[in-house]
């Protein structure tokens, strides 16, 4: 949204990026690949990452 705060815009961009780089693209089995557990860990990292960009509560406050 054109009126989005820089923090929100940054978060939106990050989500777009993460959604593509981690969820899409050619998947080949390399010599080293993440195990199923490893893929789950990516999402643990991701949730922490999104929370760290800026808290959603604060964003809601800014937009009000």
């Amino acid at each position: 949204m054109s009126s989005a705060s820089p923090a929100l815009q940054q978060q939106v961009t990050l989500i777009e990026l993460v959604d593509r780089v981690l969820n899409k693209g050619v998947t080949l089995t390399g010599d080293i690949t993440l195990s199923v557990a490893g893929v789950d860990l990516v999402y643990v990292g991701l949730r922490l990452l999104l929370a760290s960009v800026s808290t959603l509560e604060r964003l809601d406050g800014e937009r009000a």
Partner: protein, 270 residues
């Protein structure tokens, strides 16, 4: 092997025996290393037959199986690497055809990378299919309050809403407006996607993001494969949609051009 040494390295480069090869994606043979000179990573191009792998040497201590599983738990590490992965591929967008790999395709040595290219003829087919195309992302976000105010206004209800109306009447109006908002959301999403898809070479609809993350109610989360000769027409359609639905509280967001992440992976899956 062609290599580019002009870019600054974002990772340390220990002795070769402790390196692995991280593959970002594949481009056509003959792609110049200059394309990736400012991509933020030290790039090695591994060319075999019709295909060129875009790769970096990475330390095993960071990308070995155990290390990798530990590292992806760290948000700062993950953010840096996800950004770096896309930055490398983005350097080729609009310059050559880029076949993006998912994060984390790692090979023991250059020979294993060559082997992967040789064993995967479908990668060549995918490059041909994607020739000259980029991915554009379009999200349509609805501000339901704007739409409700407009719908109420159309009924001449501005002054009465929430004031002296009887409770039951007020609840009934609420239900009717909810219904109209839902109906609008569905038809606006369908029409938007149909028109954008018609202007593109291929299209995908992804699940809507949660409102708290998306910054509104997401009606459409689409990805569109667009060749350069259709780019202007595609953007025209987007402008027309914005003009038509803007007053109803809909905002369209365009992202990209991206490497065509959403248009690979179906037939190329291992």
């Amino acid at each position: 092997m062609a290599s580019s040494r002009t870019g600054s390295s974002v990772w340390s480069v220990p002795p070769a025996s402790t390196d692995a090869w991280y593959v970002y994606g594949v481009v056509p043979k003959g792609t110049s290393p200059d394309v990736f000179a400012n991509a933020g990573a030290e790039i090695e191009l591994v060319e075999t037959g019709e295909l060129t792998a875009v790769a970096s040497r990475v330390p095993l201590e960071e990308y070995g199986a155990e290390a990798l599983e530990a590292n992806v738990k760290h948000p700062e590490w993950l953010e840096e690497k996800v950004n770096a992965h896309n930055a490398v591929l983005a350097a080729g967008v609009g310059v050559t055809t880029v076949l993006p790999f998912r994060f984390g395709a790692i090979y023991r040595d250059e020979e294993q990378v060559r082997g992967m290219l040789t064993k995967r003829p479908e990668l060549r087919d995918a490059l041909a299919r994607l020739d000259g195309a980029v991915e554009l992302g379009v999200k349509a976000l609805l501000d339901p309050e704007v739409l409700r105010a407009r719908l109420a206004h159309d009924r001449g209800l501005d002054a009465e809403v929430g004031s002296g109306r009887a409770y039951m009447l007020w609840k009934q109006l609420e239900r009717e407006l909810d219904e109209e908002v839902r109906s609008f959301a569905g038809s606006c999403a369908d029409e938007s996607h149909e028109r954008l898809a018609a202007a593109a070479d291929d299209a995908r609809v992804n699940p809507a993001q949660h409102p708290s993350v998306a910054g509104g109610e997401m009606l459409l989360n689409g990805a569109y494969l667009v060749r350069s000769d259709r780019d202007a027409a595609f953007r025209d359609v987007l402008r027309e949609l914005q003009a038509r639905y803007g007053d109803d509280g809909v905002t369209y967001e365009l992202t990209g051009p991206w490497p065509p992440y959403n248009f690979v992976g179906d037939e190329e899956q291992a």
